[in-house]
C-alpha cells in the first residue's frame, strides 16, 4: 500500500491513517539503517531532485542519503548555483526538471506556498522540504518517529511543549497539525512578539510562560532563535531571550521525569538550549537526525516504490 496522493505538501492535509502508514514504514527503514550494508534496490531507475532555494545541510543531505540508500538517482540543485540566479521562474525551473525525467522533486523555499505552486506546475511528485513559515512536514514526521521510539505509538493525552520563535517556525506549524491529529495536547510558548495570532484556532494551547509550558510535559521541542529577529526588534538581546525562553536543566525538571528534548537543529548552544541539556540523556537531537533519514526513505518508498505507478 502506498500513499494515495501526488504530493506531500503539508501535515495539515495528511490524515491520521496516512501519518500512521508513513511512521510504520519509517520504523522499518530505521532498521535498514542499522545494517552494515544499507543499500537496497527499491528505487533503482527513479530520479529524485532536491531543489533548494534556502541553505540547508541536514534536510538536503538527509533526503539525498535516503534516496541513495534506496538506489535512486539523486540530483541536488541549489538556487544560488542554478538558473534561478538568471531570473528563471519556479514554474519554468519545475517544468525543465520534469522534461529531464524527474520522478519527484523535493523543494525547500523561503516563501510560503512555493511547493504548492510547483506541484500545480509539474506532473512530477513534489515533497515539501520546508516553505517559508508555513510547513515542514518531514520534520514533523521525524519528530513523531523519534517520540514513538521512546513514548510508544499512542500519543493520546501526551503533553508536548513547543517553545521558541513560533511566529517564524514552519516546524511549529507542522508539528501542531501532526501532533493534534495523533491525539497529543500541544502547547506553544513564545514571547508575545514571536507568537502569531490564531494558534488556539489551530488547536494549540498558548502561553508566554515557559514554566507553564514545561510543567508535566512528556516531550519538549525547542525552536531555533535567529539573531536577525533581534535586529527586527522582536526581543532585546539573545541574552535576555535566553533568560526567559531558554531551556536549561533546572527548568527541564518541571517536565515529566525522562521527558524527551527535541530540536530541529541547527542548535544555538547556550541560547535556546543549554549545552548540558542538548547533550544530556533526555536529548533526542541525534536520534532525530537518524529518524529524518528513515522518514524520508519511507516517503520516497511510499510515493515512488509502488508497483504500477
Amino acid at each position: 500500500m502506498g500513499l494515495k496522493r501526488k504530493d506531500l505538501l503539508t501535515m495539515e492535509q495528511l490524515s491520521r491513517e496516512e501519518i500512521d502508514l508513513i511512521l510504520h514504514t519509517a520504523k522499518e527503514m530505521r532498521n535498514v539503517l542499522k545494517r552494515d550494508i544499507k543499500k537496497v534496490p527499491t528505487l533503482r531507475g527513479k530520479t529524485v531532485v532536491t531543489l533548494f532555494y534556502e541553505p540547508s545541510t541536514r534536510t538536503r543531505t538527509s533526503f539525498e542519503l535516503a534516496g541513495k540508500y534506496m538506489s535512486a538517482d539523486m540530483v541536488n540543485i541549489s538556487a544560488t548555483t542554478s538558473s534561478v540566479v538568471k531570473g528563471e521562474t519556479l514554474k519554468d525551473t519545475g517544468q525543465t526538471l520534469q522534461m529531464m525525467g524527474t520522478d519527484i522533486i523535493i523543494i525547500r523555499h523561503g516563501m510560503a506556498g512555493a511547493p504548492q505552486l510547483l506541484a500545480q506546475s509539474v506532473k512530477a511528485k513534489v515533497i515539501n522540504g520546508g516553505d517559508g513559515f508555513h510547513e515542514h512536514p518531514t520534520q514533523a514526521l521525524l519528530d513523531m518517529l523519534s517520540m514513538r521510539e521512546k513514548l510508544g505509538e499512542d500519543f493520546t493525552g501526551l503533553k508536548v511543549a513547543i517553545i521558541g520563535d513560533v511566529l517564524h517556525s514552519r516546524v511549529a506549524r507542522s508539528n501542531v497539525h501532526g501532533l493534534k491529529k495523533m491525539g497529543a495536547e500541544v502547547w506553544v510558548c513564545a514571547p508575545p512578539t514571536l507568537m502569531p495570532p490564531g494558534m488556539e484556532e489551530l488547536g494549540a494551547k498558548v502561553t508566554y510562560d515557559i514554566e507553564e509550558a514545561l510543567r508535566g510535559a512528556q516531550a519538549v521541542m525547542m525552536l531555533r532563535v535567529q539573531l536577525e529577529r533581534q535586529k527586527a526588534g522582536l526581543f532585546p538581546t539573545l541574552r535576555e531571550y535566553s533568560q526567559y525562553f531558554g531551556l536549561n536543566s533546572n527548568r527541564l525538571k518541571l517536565a515529566d521525569p525522562g521527558a524527551l528534548v527535541l530540536h530541529p537543529g541547527p542548535i544555538n548552544r547556550g541560547i535556546e538550549i543549554s549545552a548540558d541539556v542538548a547533550d544530556g540523556l533526555q536529548s533526542m537531537i541525534n536520534e532525530q537526525v537518524t529518524c529524518g533519514v528513515a522518514v524520508r526513505m519511507a516517503l520516497l518508498y511510499l510515493m515512488l516504490g509502488q508497483k504500477g505507478e
Binding site: 516563501m111 510560503a112 512555493a114 517559508g132 510547513e135 514552519r170
Partner: protein
C-alpha cells in the same frame, strides 16, 4: 445617429427618478426622456426588464500606460471599462514615468481620446516622483485636466507633507486621494494578519496599519479644511473613523472595492495570487463592516481598484507576486450580486455609489441624466446570471479571484457620448 432606448426602468439618483421611461438619443445628446416616445423610422433598443442609469464612473483604476504596457494599455483598459459598464474612469498616476507633470497628463488624455471609448480622467501625483517629499506641480496638472491627486500604491508618510497637500489642493477644489497604510506595520506583509496568515505561514498586515493612517488623514482634513478622499477602505476601524469624521462635519469621502465587500482572507488558502491585493482581503467582520458602510452610504463610492497584471507577473510565489485584481469587468456584477441580490440595497442606492458618489468625490459634472446633456448611460440586466470568464476579458489582466464564479446583475449596454460602445458584454465594432 439617432435611436430610442425603450422600456427600461430609468433610475437617476441625483433627480430621485425611478420610472419606466423611454430615452431618445440624437447626435450624442439626450433629446427626450419621457414615457412612450413614438417616433417612426428610428432604431429602437428594446430594454424591457433592464435598468438604465447615468453612466457609471470608476474613480480608481490603473491603466498602466505609460510604462506598463505588458499589463494594460489605455486602449485595453478603456475597452475593459466599457465592457464592464463604465463610461468614465479616473486613472491613478503610478505609471512609469509617473503622472507628476503635465506632459504625462497630456499623453494619457490624448491616448484616451484616440481610444474613443470611456472618458479618462487623469489623477496626478501628490508628490514629485511619488517620493512623499515635495508636492508636485498640481496647478499645472490641474490646468491640463487632472481631477484629483494621489500617491496611490504608497502612503504619504510625512504628515507635514500630507498637510500641505491638503492645503494646496484647496486652490483647485480637488480631492487628495489617500492610500492609507503605515509602511512600517505593513513591511513584508503578504495578507491580512489573523488566523489565515498564521495557517499559511505568511507575514500578516494588521487592520491597524490602515486605520492609523485613516485617523491621521481625517485629523489633517479637519486641520486644513482640505478635501480628503480615502481610497479602498477595508477595515471595520476605518469605517468607525469615517463615522466619527461625518459626525464632526469633516470633509471626507471614501470608496470601497467589490472585493473588500465580498471576499475574506480565507480565499488566500490555496496561495492563488489573484487574491493578493493591497489592502489585503480581510476577515469576515471587516468585510461585513465595509459592506454595511457602502449600503448605508457612509462609503459613497464603489471603485474597482482595477490593477491588471500579465500572467507572468502573477504566476509566481505568493510573496513575489504583485498586488492587484483586474476588476473593471466584474465590479458591477460582483457589487450588484453582493449588495442588491444578497444584501438588500435598493437599485437606486446601488447606482448612486457608481454615479453621484464618485462625481461628488471628484467634483465632476456628470453622473446624472438631463435632457440636452451628452448621453452617457449604463444599462444593467438585473436578472442576468453569468459566469466570470477571464479569457473573455478585454483587459490584459486576467488576474481575477472571481474566475469561474457566477454573479447576477450584469451591465449589458454602455453608451458614451451618445454612442453605443458595448452591448451584451462585447464592444461594438471591434
Amino acid at each position: 445617429m439617432e435611436y430610442i432606448l425603450k422600456g427600461a426602468l430609468v433610475i437617476d439618483p441625483k433627480a430621485g427618478l425611478e420610472k419606466q421611461l423611454d430615452i431618445h438619443i440624437k447626435n450624442g445628446h439626450i433629446k427626450a426622456l419621457q414615457e412612450n416616445i413614438d417616433e417612426k423610422d428610428i432604431k429602437i433598443y428594446d430594454l424591457q426588464g433592464k435598468i438604465a442609469a447615468p453612466g457609471f464612473i470608476d474613480m480608481h483604476v490603473h491603466l498602466r500606460e505609460p510604462g506598463g504596457e505588458a499589463n494594460e494599455t489605455i486602449l485595453t483598459g478603456c475597452q475593459a471599462a466599457v465592457a464592464g459598464g463604465f463610461t468614465a474612469v479616473a486613472a491613478m498616476p503610478n505609471t512609469k514615468p509617473c503622472t507628476d507633470n503635465e506632459a504625462v497628463v497630456e499623453l494619457i488624455k490624448a491616448r484616451a481620446q484616440k481610444a474613443g471609448l470611456a472618458v479618462v480622467y487623469p489623477i496626478g501625483t501628490i508628490t514629485k516622483k511619488q517620493q512623499g517629499e515635495e508636492i508636485s506641480e498640481i496647478g499645472s496638472m490641474f490646468k491640463t485636466g487632472i481631477v484629483a491627486i494621489s500617491d496611490d500604491g504608497k502612503p504619504v508618510i510625512n504628515s507635514d507633507v500630507m498637510r500641505h497637500a491638503l492645503e494646496y489642493a484647496k486652490l483647485f477644489d480637488i480631492p487628495v486621494i489617500s492610500h492609507c497604510e503605515d509602511p512600517y506595520l505593513t513591511a513584508g506583509g503578504d495578507m491580512h494578519e489573523g488566523y489565515w496568515s498564521t495557517f499559511l505561514g505568511m507575514k500578516g498586515i494588521p487592520a491597524q496599519a490602515e486605520e492609523i493612517m485613516v485617523a491621521r488623514d481625517i485629523h489633517l482634513a479637519a486641520l486644513t479644511g482640505g478635501r480628503l478622499h480615502l481610497a479602498h477602505v477595508s477595515t471595520k476601524g476605518s469605517i468607525e473613523l469615517l463615522r466619527f469624521a461625518r459626525a464632526q462635519g469633516i470633509k471626507v469621502t471614501a470608496e470601497a472595492t467589490p472585493h473588500h465587500m465580498l471576499l475574506t482572507d480565507e480565499e488566500v488558502k490555496d496561495y492563488d495570487t489573484s487574491t493578493k491585493v493591497n489592502p489585503p482581503l480581510r476577515s469576515q467582520e471587516h468585510v461585513e463592516a465595509v459592506q454595511q458602510a457602502v449600503k448605508e452610504g457612509i462609503v459613497q463610492c464603489i471603485a474597482s481598484d482595477h490593477a491588471p497584471w500579465c500572467r507572468e507577473e502573477k504566476e509566481q510565489e505568493y510573496t513575489k507576486a504583485p498586488n492587484g485584481i483586474s476588476g473593471l469587468e466584474t465590479a458591477v456584477a460582483v457589487s450588484w450580486d453582493t449588495l442588491v441580490v444578497n444584501g438588500g440595497l435598493s437599485p437606486m442606492g446601488f447606482i448612486a455609489r457608481f454615479t453621484t458618489g464618485p462625481a461628488e468625490a471628484l467634483n465632476l459634472q456628470r453622473g446624472f441624466l438631463a435632457v440636452g446633456d451628452e448621453a452617457n448611460l449604463t444599462v444593467i440586466d438585473p436578472d442576468l446570471k453569468k459566469q466570470v470568464d477571464v479569457d473573455k476579458f478585454y483587459s490584459k489582466g486576467k488576474n481575477s479571484p472571481y474566475k469561474g464564479r457566477f454573479f447576477q446583475g450584469w451591465p449589458v449596454m454602455t453608451i458614451v457620448r451618445g454612442k453605443v460602445v458595448m452591448q451584451d458584454g462585447r464592444i461594438k465594432g471591434e
